[in-house]
């Protein structure tokens, strides 16, 4: 995603080293595995978790929830966004809904979701209510930012509406979405895990975190955080691939 200069990259490495040193020092001072585990116990917990019988199921379920939830949010955002920019009625109907979703505290909605929905669905829903408004807004912005001059050109040259949509509107929407893609996908992962911690589905990173917390197994909580960081990295890499498929970097001046 971002290209750092050599000097920048050095600073990033230094920052990472400082964090690790800080971790070592704090865990020495605290000297209590439950409150602040050492690197050694975290790593051994990490190995235990990975060797455990449910590891792949846990990861798989959380990833599926994240990706399915994100795909649903994305499809709905594009669909409703396009409809809203064609029919003003839909735009005005969506306005209070989006305002509601982005101003009411997420926790309140999560609590309602826990009451109303199935345990398996809650994490998906929690991700959706956070991510959908952002995606929807950027679809609207993408359509709004279409260059009117280009549309006029297409009209003068009597280009079919289908081609105008396919070649002008959709690339604009994708371009606009592209700028929020990695942040919203990361956010979605975080929200799904939070939802899992609360709703406790059978398999899930959030459920595992909650379980380890109950046992006061803090090294395992740290280990899961490391796993989540790695998954985030993986998702980011996936998006980079998508960028290359869409060829966005080739024409972006």
């Amino acid at each position: 995603m971002k290209i750092y200069s050599l000097k920048g990259r050095k600073l990033v490495i230094i920052s990472k080293i400082i964090i690790i040193i800080f971790w070592i020092i704090v865990s020495r001072i605290v000297d209590n595995e439950v409150i602040f585990p050492t690197i050694k116990s975290t790593i051994s917990s990490l190995i235990d978790i990975i060797r455990g019988p449910y590891f792949f199921n846990v990861i798989r379920y959380s990833l599926i929830r994240t990706l399915v939830g994100f795909t649903i949010s994305l499809i709905l955002a594009i669909l409703i966004g396009v409809l809203a920019s064609v029919f003003k009625v839909i735009l005005y109907i969506m306005l209070p809904i989006v305002n509601f979703l982005s101003s009411v505290p997420t926790m309140a909605i999560i609590i309602l979701a826990l009451i109303w929905l199935d345990n398996e669905v809650v994490p998906l829903f929690v991700g959706f209510i956070m991510v959908f408004p952002i995606l929807y807004e950027s679809v609207l912005k993408g359509i709004e930012n279409v260059d009117k001059n280009i549309i006029e050109m297409a009209e003068l040259y009597k280009v079919d509406r289908i081609h105008v949509i396919k070649d002008i509107y959709i690339p604009n929407i994708l371009y606009s979405l592209n700028s929020v893609f990695s942040s919203t996908l990361g956010l979605n992962l975080k929200m799904v895990i939070a939802g899992e911690a609360l709703s406790q589905p059978n398999y899930g990173i959030g459920s595992s975190l909650q379980l380890e917390k109950t046992y006061l197994n803090t090294p395992a909580v740290f280990a899961w955080i490391i796993i989540i960081l790695l998954i985030s990295k993986f998702l980011e890499g996936l998006l980079n691939r998508l960028d290359n498929i869409l060829h966005i970097n080739r024409w972006k001046g």
């Binding site: 040259y157 081609h163 070649d167 371009y175 024409w251 001046g253």
Partner: protein, 226 residues
């Protein structure tokens, strides 16, 4: 086919922009519409193109024609390369199998083959405007409207792009209407020059090609004399 606008009147609110403008356009010739800035030249062109309505008057010949248009800006699609940009206006307007052949033919004609897969961001301003002019010429139209197409170019690339336009015009028959406020451009490119007044705009004078040719002849005579 005769092209004509007759008694065009256009108001913007209370402001009278065009006041009974009547112009004959000779088929397959270039008519330059020359007028001061802000006199409603672009308005006239947009009325001819059918982009905006007029309040009174008649347009003859343009209605059922395909029209090409070159704008002040290049208006290329930035996520499409040269080939795809050209393809965009041909899709649905010419036979699908012909598109690539037409594009290759024209790119070769104007020696731009090597730029076929360039994106607009990698082209200079003059080069982008050339692609925009090429787009207008390979589009299957008989009328070409140009709205100050050389205005935003620097002096050096301007003369190159003008040569480029002349070259295409000589191989491809189109009735060209060029709007400009630059006298040199009008003299160089127009077969006929229509001079407009300030607002409310009327036709002040029409200078015909024959008179131009006569002037050139006289001038060249004077140059030959010691």
């Amino acid at each position: 086919m005769a092209y004509k606008v007759e008694g065009i009147i256009k108001y913007y609110g209370d402001l009278k922009v065009l006041d009974k403008v009547t112009i004959d356009f000779e088929p397959n010739k270039t008519t330059c519409i020359l007028g001061p800035s802000g006199c409603g030249k672009t308005t006239l062109l947009n009325i001819i193109a059918g982009l905006i309505p007029m309040d009174l008057g008649q347009i003859v010949g343009f209605d059922d024609e395909r029209i090409s248009y070159v704008f002040q800006e290049d208006r290329l699609i930035k996520w499409k390369n040269v080939k795809e940009n050209l393809e965009f206006v041909l899709k649905g307007n010419v036979d699908k199998n012909q598109i690539e052949i037409i594009i290759d033919k024209y790119l070769k004609l104007v020696s731009l083959e090597e730029y076929k897969y360039y994106y607009p961001k990698d082209l200079s301003g003059g080069m982008k405007q050339r692609v925009s002019i090429l787009r207008a010429f390979l589009y299957p139209s008989s009328v070409l409207l140009m709205d100050e197409p050389f205005k935003s170019l620097d002096v050096k690339s301007k003369s190159l792009v003008i040569e480029f336009f002349k070259e295409l015009r000589s191989v491809e028959n189109k009735t060209c209407i060029l709007v400009t406020h630059n006298i040199e451009e009008a003299l160089e490119l127009g077969d006929k020059i229509v001079i407009l007044t300030q607002k409310p705009t009327r036709v002040r004078k029409v200078v015909d090609k024959n008179i131009m040719a006569a002037r050139e002849l006289i001038e060249s005579y004077f140059k030959m004399m010691p």
